[in-house]
Amino acid sequence: MNALRTLVSPRGAVFLLLIVLLVTVTILNPTFAEPGQFMRYIQRVAPVAIIAIGQYFVIIAGEFDLSQGSLITAQVIIAGNLVGQDDSRTVPVLLLMLVFGALVGLVNGLLTTLLQVPSFIVTLGMMLALLGGVMWWTGGAATGNPADSFRQIGRGGIRDLPLIDFLPWSVLILAGWLALGIWLTKRPYGKVLIALGDNARATRYAGARSWWITTRAFIISSVSATVSGVLLVGYAGVHPSVGRGYEFIAITAVVLGGVVLGGGRGWIVAAVAGAFVLEALFLVLNISGVPSSLRDAVQGVIIIAAVAYSGVVFRARRRTTPATASPDQGKGPDAPERTGAHTSAPRPALTPEGVAETRGD
């Protein structure tokens, strides 16, 4: 019962939507349910899911990162030009790309925190400058797709496994990156970051170095974009339009996941589910033969409806809950009854609709 209630709550709505869409796809195209096919679907979502993870950290801090798309394009072209057909250069170039990604994130963070320019504007400027710079440097087109060993990451995988015949590397990388992300949200850094998004002053008064915390969020976002770029080089190959507009897709996915623009609220797993929803939606529209020109319209409607639903429901629930605040209002100085913090014995009387507020860590 409790799980169902979470599903209906705004935090869970994105999972409900995902299940509905996946079921629809399976109905429309039964082969989708085959493990191999499902793995391919996850492989396609991996790049978007990974940048959604990066964008999640920036948004819970109350900021925006519009430069992710351009960074992917830049990294893809860098990979194409620097690796070339020489397999031995795969690892060094990978490291260089990660360093370059971290550097872009550092610049975004410092300009936002120290120069106090709104992050919307900083990352917009970075988006223009980054793309222009790379295109100028490479004359618009990379020398060619990098060596196969580099592209294996985004394309290859472990073949003919017993149950799921094909396990793409990108699925493993996504799983690893998400695990890292979840771990990070539990770590002190993650908790202080979300507290910063909720109340920046209280976090500063608690002794946190706000500028360094926010800057690290931007670094995570840019490194995520770099990882996503590496996968896209493998999956799609090198082309100047790879990654174009991915930042808006990432922000949409995170918001679909119930994360609030402005910071302080949101769960990383739901943000990733948002990315899966967008790709599932693309699948449904593709397979159901909805004319390609109409796809954007349907996507727009669903995004607004999903966010409106969590907005309206969340607001309604928040208004009723204070009335059922905790029962400790001891009148006089008589000892208020001892409710050990641990044994939070549920009070049915006091929490009638009791939507479990447990944070799904």
Partner: protein, 408 residues
């Protein structure tokens, strides 16, 4: 009461959005009812009668494909087909002339290759004293900016000749007409305009020819009922729309089950589309209106472990190389990149008073499997984004300038 009122207003707002959008659909928010999804003969594309289809132009271009071009064989950029020559004596005058070039953009690999070639051609003409300098303004894919660029040239440029690569046909027409009124010669190339005031309009045979070559190639190697997936980079550009219009017509006539998608030239999107199609059923042929992302389409087959389709791409090195590696049955249609040399040469001829074709139709012949190796060796070391028929082999700086892709 308040909340239900909020929901009601929200519903009205959403309905309002659809009503005003006047769109014919009722985008059901819940997933569409599962219609039968077996790949029955679905009707081709969306609008039955394709607006872009022009039977007359289709026939002329169809004929032009087989006409042997006049002019020097080793200089395809100077050859012309069925040309009606025009006398340029009135413009004849010696001395180095200043050229003003209003370029649509260099935002895709095809245009970048052409732009590098044009600059090398310029160097040659500067040494020979025909052209003093060429001032260029880049519209960055914006019609509005290009109109402002042309107006700027008219007032400020001090141009002796206008060279214009229009961003789109209808929108550029008024501005080109204003350029003609200056009395200076106007040369239009790549995309046309709806006026014949320019001295010459330089372009390869055209979109319909591309559509016919590619469709015929696929139809010969496939049988009726086979599935062909058409990958189109973006709607609304006449050059591209004509390619699909021609192909769609021929596919329909041949009973080929052709369906088309807009990909935005994004290889990731192309690979997803092809993977979905392969999941739905067998795909025998791939048709592309431009070579962008061709490799991704092929790799979708590899990843799905299926044998390669019959495929038409473009003379971009990435496709040619993949075609060579995989050995699939393919064809590389060409939208003659060497046309980027012709405008400057035409200007030279105009100031020399020589006759030049009113409509300078350059040869446009696809690269077949037999010619593949020749073009691969000729363009050894060129980047993937380079186009085989760029026609700049005899220009200074070959091959380094194209290999390093130095964009001026």
């Amino acid at each position: 009461m308040r909340r239900s009122m909020t929901i009601a207003t929200a519903a009205v707002a959403l309905i309002g959005v659809f009503a005003l959008a006047g769109c014919t659909t009722d985008p059901t928010v819940t997933p569409p009812a599962p219609s039968d999804s077996d790949p029955g003969p679905s009707q081709p594309g969306e609008a039955p009668a394709n607006e872009w289809f022009d039977q007359a132009l289709f026939d002329t271009q169809d004929a032009q494909r087989d006409v042997a071009p006049e002019g020097p064989a080793d200089q395809p950029y100077l050859q012309y087909i069925n040309a009606e020559m025009v006398d340029t004596a009135e413009y004849a005058s010696d001395g180095a002339k200043k050229a003003c070039f209003a370029n649509a953009s260099i935002s895709n690999p095809w245009r970048q290759t052409g732009w590098i070639t044009m600059n090398q051609q310029l160097k040659v003409l500067q040494e020979s004293g025909a052209i003093s300098e060429m001032e260029t303004r880049d519209a960055q894919d914006s019609d509005d900016t290009q109109i402002a660029d042309i107006d700027y040239f008219i007032e400020e440029g001090g141009c002796d000749v206008f060279i214009i690569s229009p961003n789109s046909t209808a929108a550029m027409t008024p501005a080109v007409e204003r350029a003609c009124e200056t009395g200076k010669p106007v040369i239009v190339f790549d995309r046309g305009v709806n006026t014949d005031c320019p001295v010459t309009f330089i372009h390869p045979i055209g979109g319909f020819a591309w559509g016919i070559d590619t469709a015929e190639f696929l139809i010969e190697r496939l049988s009726p009922g086979d599935k062909v997936v058409g990958l189109r980079i973006l709607p609304g550009v006449d050059v591209l729309e004509q390619r699909w219009a021609a192909a769609e017509k021929l596919f329909a006539e041949a009973g080929i089950d052709a369906v088309d998608y807009f990909t935005g030239a994004d290889p990731a999107e192309i690979k997803s589309i092809i993977s979905d199609e392969l999941a739905k059923g067998e795909v025998k042929g791939i048709w592309m209106d431009a070579g962008d992302g061709a490799v991704a389409a092929i790799e979708a087959f590899e990843d799905a472990g299926l044998d390669y389709p019959v495929m038409t791409g473009e003379d971009e090195m990435s496709f040619l190389r993949k075609w060579k590696d995989t050995g699939l049955t393919g064809l590389a249609p060409v939208y003659s990149n060497f046309q980027w040399r012709t405008p400057l040469l035409a200007a030279q001829k105009i100031f020399a008073g020589e006759e030049i074709p009113k409509e300078w139709v350059l040869p446009q012949s696809p690269i077949t499997a037999e010619e593949l190796d020749a073009y691969l060796t000729a363009n050894e070391g060129m980047p993937d984004g380079h186009y085989a028929k760029f026609g700049g082999e005899n220009l200074p700086g070959f091959p380094e300038v194209w290999q390093q892709r130095q964009i001026p």
